[in-house]
Amino acid sequence: MSALLRCRDLSRAFGGLLALEGLDLDVEEGGVLGLIGPNGSGKTTFFNVLTGFFPATRGEVLFAGEPITGLSPQVVYRKGVARTFQRSRLCLPLSIFDNLLIGNHKHLDHRLWSNLVDRRALRRQIEQTFAEARELVRIFDPPLADRLLEPASRIPMIDRRRIEVCRALISRPRLLLLDEPSAGMTQEETMRLMDDILQVKSRLGGLTIILIEHEMTVIERVTERCVVLNYGRKIAEGAYAEIARTPSVREAYLGLE
């Protein structure tokens, strides 16, 4: 069995609030897992614990068989986990390309010597990343691929979300964490974004995705399996069609729709 990500009893408390409580979760390599649950149910907290922003209060995470519990965000990224944020976190004053360079940080040379003195390798890496960036962005929005040197502040919200996804993808991670990538998009736009992501996934081969999403049609279409959280606990797991029929889920979540 080759679970790429395996969480056991993962828990996180904020003071007395149990934001995540005893979560057990496996994600197969190459799978797409939907993570759903009402507001405040701990979905984002799960990402934050996974990526090392908040230490877990209990439990453990294995990534590709290795424990990554308690590692810093930097190390988790280097191991091949990349994410987007629920609220856009692009560096708006920088160019789109600069933002993508940040996404590709682990493949770039940051030694003082090669950045300040002998800059041949630097130039090569810039050209290479630029070519990769164009190719990647072209999948999502062809005209945008020719505007990489414009400031990120100048493009509309939808394109910013796309660039955030590209920023997470450009380093070719093994696990991609998407936290409501469609916030602020229409349903069609969301579908397109997801199709584009799946296209990149099929190109990369082996990319694994966890998707937090409120739009159930999206979940239904792109995920193979879903986990439902409520008050930090997993209340259901299975294919969307199954869980949509589970009474506790309907009560906790779908009933609120």
């Binding site: 904020f14 984002t44 934050n48 922003f53 908040f54 944020f85």
Partner: protein, 304 residues
């Protein structure tokens, strides 16, 4: 024995002044999440306003010390309250949404404008100015220690003011509105609180407290000086941060804590009491390294 009493008394006076200044910082931070760095210089402006009014009144022949004192305090309070509200209205509110540091910078520069204006435009402002003794100067002998009546009065008045402020914030409708704005601006707005008005009132209130600290400083040292606000401002800021920005009682504790540090510095380094500020600021820096959000800690936690 008497020397210790002397140190304690001096520390208490300093602590009271710092606490009054720090409460201002913490109130401003509470409502707007900003540092109003001109606060110390607003204080100095208040002290100079007090001096100017005293000079004017004595020229006019007002001789009653009680009346003089009352008018002087009123003048300083009005001056600082207006200045503080003006800073909020013209510098802080327009920068809402800009990076926090810009507000710090703009008010830092406003402090320079006030400081330099006093130096350049107040007659003789570049030199320290004698401040009149408006309180009884007698003292009570307690063993070898002379307890000065004016100091007791100042401490008592400061205590009353701080207690009054805390009552105002916790018990009145205005205080409720201030706390509502401090909690969450949006909710406060939907509750019908006039956000701008509350901000201006809070800045006026916090600045008025500084006026008293300024007059207190003048009465205690018998002189005031155009640059007096800078150090008092930094110390008040440090005290507010030690106490956890936005926390009223923390600010008061922070003020007395800083005064205690200076006093300890002066006692422990008698051969080099000039180093007492080096010591006090050194401790503040070390504290920030150990507890980056202050001893008591700011109320918010960061979201990812």
């Amino acid at each position: 024995m008497s020397i210790i009493a002397q140190y304690v008394m001096n520390g208490a006076m300093l602590g009271m002044m710092y606490a009054l200044v720090a409460v201002g910082f913490t109130l401003f931070f509470g409502v707007l999440d900003v540092i109003q760095f001109a606060h110390g210089d607003v204080l100095a402006a208040g002290a100079f306003a007090a001096l100017a009014v005293w000079l004017g009144l004595t020229r006019l022949g007002v001789a009653s010390p009680a009346l003089l004192l009352a008018l002087v305090v009123v003048a300083a309070t009005v001056a600082t309250a207006l200045l503080g509200a003006a800073v909020a209205r013209f510098l802080v509110l327009p920068l809402k949404g800009a990076p926090q540091l810009n507000v710090l910078l703009v008010t830092l520069m406003m402090g320079t404008v006030l400081r330099e204006s006093i130096r350049l435009f107040y007659p003789g402002g570049s030199q320290p100015q004698l401040f009149p003794a408006l309180l009884p100067t007698s003292s009570v002998a307690l063993g070898e220690f002379n307890l000065r009546i004016d100091n007791v009065i100042l401490l008592a008045a400061g205590t009353v003011l701080i207690a009054g402020t805390s009552l105002l914030v916790t018990r009145t409708r205005l205080g409720l509105a201030i706390r509502a704005v401090a909690q969450d601006e949006e909710t406060a707005r939907t509750m019908g609180v006039d956000f701008r008005r509350i901000v201006l009132l809070t800045f006026a209130l916090g600045s008025a407290l500084a006026a008293f600290a300024g007059v207190m400083d003048g009465l205690y040292y018998n002189e005031i000086f155009f640059g007096m606000g800078l150090l008092l401002g930094v110390i008040g800021f440090a005290a507010a941060i030690i106490g956890g920005l936005g926390n009223l009682y923390g600010a008061i504790l922070g003020g007395f804590f800083f005064a205690a540090l200076q006093t300890i510095g002066a006692v422990a380094l008698p051969f080099a009491s000039a180093y007492k500020d080096v010591f006090a600021f050194g401790v503040v820096i070390a504290l920030m390294a150990l507890r980056p959000k202050g001893l008591i800690g700011e109320r918010t936690s960061e979201r990812v």
